[in-house]
């Protein structure tokens, strides 16, 4: 592990050291920085906090927000809440999968796109909703999917 990563991790751990129940806030902060939580990073956090790597990995694998793999440059999240599902989210998901030739949970081989399914993001009035990175697209019909992908491909 290169030392700059280690330094960063130590800084983050130190920032939360006095916070009760610090493990989850620490993992959030590290993932925010690096996009994912590698096994090495998990082991570093464990030894810093004086807990077992198994405990850290138990928490990482329990919560769907934590990921052990690097995600693509653009993260597509198709909302699978009830309101979105009733208004056709499954068709929208299918359109993304067909366009990018990957399944939900996978990343394209050029590392540009990852498709995910998200839980209700609470924008039910605009169902079906898709998030791409921090942007939210409401009332998304499947036929708008190609132009959206093109927009992010050009970025």
């Amino acid at each position: 592990m290169c030392s700059t990563v280690a330094d960063k991790v130590y800084t983050i751990v130190d920032r939360f050291r006095d916070t009760p129940g610090s493990l989850i806030p620490i993992l959030h902060a590290i993932q925010e920085e690096y996009g994912y939580l590698s096994r090495d990073v998990q082991a570093m956090v464990a030894s810093e906090l004086g807990i077992s790597p198994a405990k850290v990995h138990g928490v990482v694998s329990f919560y769907s927000f934590f990921t052990e793999q690097a995600k693509g440059e653009h993260e597509i999240g198709v909302c699978m809440g009830t309101a979105c599902y009733v208004r056709g989210a499954a068709d929208v998901l299918e359109a993304f999968q067909n366009q990018l030739h990957i399944r939900a949970g996978e990343t394209t081989s050029d590392q540009r796109f990852t498709i995910g399914m998200t839980r209700c993001i609470g924008a039910c009035g605009l169902a079906p909703v898709v998030t791409i990175n921090d942007d939210v697209y409401g009332r998304l019909a499947p036929d708008r999917v190609p132009e959206l992908i093109e927009k992010y491909r050009r970025q």
Partner: protein
């Protein structure tokens, strides 16, 4: 002194509809016309009319503009704000009657509401503590610290009849009393903002639109039970809520409403935010406590209840966001006032998040006991496309559905339970005739199976078994005896699961079976989906007599499954058809038949 105030909704729904750009454009044009000093622009929390966003309300008149684009802003400034003429084309037009409404207070959507929990959302700037204070904010905390004993506070809450708005409906005053009775020592106050029920977004709106009301209520709760520390557990899916709440905390500390010696008394109380990490089960109170402690969010067996042994083993009360939002008004106006609203056993109001196949989606707050018909037709404006109402799902994955027969029953905790559903957090998903109830049951079981934490077998294995049967049904491979097996499994899972997630997971199946049993039977016996939704059970054909041979369907078909020659009837190659339904949408003469 400003001569006009313009409120721009910055709720999550409107922000997704680019309301921020509309606000920026407004500020820019006001500057260009040199009237920035006369017109004040305020960003508010969710106003509630999510599908009409971005929306803007111009005061003093209270004119409600909706579905605004960037190009509309200049016209509002020039016509309305400069010349005083209302821009009619941007007003709300009712979907069925075409009636145009000018003022916000005259809209049917708002007229029937009674706002207690949402009293400030959509009205004040959530990022300004001054605006909260101007609306009597922190008055209740002052009243409590200035002469009420903790016991009196609990008595007031108990007398109001307030019940938990997050699901179970447990009396709030009693919960506080349990924690107050626990021996003196470290105690905690927790706010459950892990709003996981898909389709419910009232907690998000309250935190984003009126964060100080939660801070004030939690401080009051802390005083009542003798706690000096609180935690707000917010879903990771709600970044804006986290940001606004953090800001509110900072302001409250600066103003002396949090921290040590609050309002000059010897009462100390502070709050911290904990962000969830995407686990539905953490909405269950004991799992939530484990998550705050930094562990896997697995539930704990109860008893001991959190009021006795909660966070880090200490007495803890956990209430939902909407429950807390009701506390300051109860203290301010008295338990008597509150208990006059609603029904005998369900006092006060309830916020419902209406979504799905309904014209006016959004958040509404109505007195308990309002009927489903009033909600869907009077406030919600009915079903789009003149389709028929089929069912409304309440209580999310733990709840059940209400049907046409239930349209006139009052919505309160006990009536909903009797009907095999539950209030839950107030999500109300409306479904029209095209919705397959077997597939909806499958959808919810897929959700609970995925979110089961795996700690206890009945939930982990049982939901997997139920899901595989439901998947069989929707893919046309149902077998005789499947319904009976679903029922057996449901009872078994309900009776033996450790926590509320498992105990309630079978509810959507039992409820749809009770109300729509014939649809299950049609899937098994006739290999037919009566709603025409399940792809494996439907087929598309072209009626040769109606087809004019235009070829539009063939051009749009993504799998090249439609063949034929122009000016002659086309036909669909069944083996290639993916049943996407594009041909049905595109055909100009309705020659495509779905069976």
């Amino acid at each position: 002194m400003y001569r006009a105030h313009v409120l721009v909704c910055a709720g999550a729904g409107c922000v997704s509809s680019r309301s921020r750009d509309v606000r920026d454009e407004l500020v820019k044009i006001l500057g260009e016309r040199d009237i920035s000093e006369e017109v004040r622009v305020i960003e508010t929390g969710c106003i509630g009319t999510c599908d009409l966003g971005p929306v803007m309300i111009v005061y003093p008149e209270g004119v409600f503009y909706q579905k605004l684009g960037l190009g509309d802003v200049a016209q509002i400034v020039d016509e309305h704000l400069i010349r005083g003429r209302v821009v009619e084309r941007l007003l709300y037009r009712a979907p069925l009657t075409e009636i145009v409404t000018e003022k916000m207070r005259d809209l049917e959507f708002f007229r029937r509401q009674y706002r207690i929990a949402l009293r400030n959302t959509g009205v004040i700037d959530p990022e300004s503590i001054e605006e909260y204070i101007a609306r009597d904010g922190y008055m209740a905390l002052g009243t409590v610290l200035d002469g009420m004993t903790p016991d009196q506070v609990i008595q007031e809450i108990t007398a109001s009849g307030l019940r938990g708005r997050g699901g179970g409906g447990f009396p709030t005053g009693r919960k506080w009393d349990f924690a107050a009775q626990a021996p003196v020592g470290q105690k905690y106050v927790v706010c459950n903002a892990d709003e996981g029920d898909p389709g419910a977004f009232m907690d998000r709106s309250i935190i984003e639109g009126d964060p100080h009301s939660i801070i004030e209520a939690m401080a009051i709760a802390g005083y009542a039970i003798g706690a000096d520390q609180g935690y707000v557990y917010v879903r990771a899916e709600y970044p804006l809520a986290v940001e606004r709440f953090q800001l509110a905390l900072q302001q409250a500390r600066e103003y002396g409403f949090l921290g040590s010696a609050i309002l000059g008394t010897d009462f100390h109380f502070d709050l911290d935010v904990r962000v969830g990490a995407g686990a539905f089960v953490c909405g269950e109170e004991t799992a939530l406590l484990n998550s705050i402690e930094g562990n896997r969010g697995e539930p704990r067996p109860r008893p001991p209840f959190p009021a006795v042994a909660g966070l880090w083993g200490r007495p803890t009360i956990i209430n939902n966001v909407e429950t807390y939002a009701n506390v300051p008004p109860i203290i301010q106006h008295g338990a008597k006032w509150f208990s006059k609203i609603g029904t005998e056993a369900s006092r006060g109001t309830k916020v419902f998040a209406m979504a799905g196949n309904i014209n006016n989606t959004g958040l509404v707050e109505v007195p308990m006991g309002t009927t489903l018909r009033e909600l869907i037709y009077d406030i919600g404006g009915g079903i789009p496309g003149n389709k028929r109402f089929k069912a409304a799902q309440t209580g999310g994955p733990s709840g059940g559905c209400l049907t046409e027969d239930h349209l006139d029953t009052p919505m309160d905790y006990d009536t909903l339970l009797e009907l095999g559903s539950m209030m839950g957090s107030g999500g109300l998903i409306v479904m029209d005739e095209d919705t397959c109830m077997v597939d909806i049951a499958r959808f919810f079981l897929d959700f609970t199976r995925d979110e089961s934490c795996g700690k206890c077998n009945p939930c982990r294995i049982g939901t997997t078994r139920m899901l595989s049967i439901l998947e069989r049904l929707v893919s046309g491979e149902g077998q005789q005896g499947d319904i009976e097996e679903l029922e057996d499994l449901a009872v078994f899972i309900q009776e033996t699961s450790l926590c509320g997630l498992g105990q309630s997971a079978p509810n959507p199946v039992l409820s749809t079976l009770k109300n729509f049993r014939s649809e299950y039977e049609a899937h098994i016996r006739e290999r037919r989906c009566p709603a025409g939704h399940c792809r494996a059970l439907i087929s598309y054909t072209i009626v040769a007599e109606t087809c004019i041979g235009c070829g539009i369907c063939a051009r749009h078909c993504p799998s090249n499954a439609i063949v034929g020659e122009r000016r002659n009837p086309y036909s669909i190659v069944t083996e290639l058809c993916t049943k996407c339904g594009v041909c049905l949408q595109e055909c100009p003469v309705q020659a495509i038949q779905k069976r």
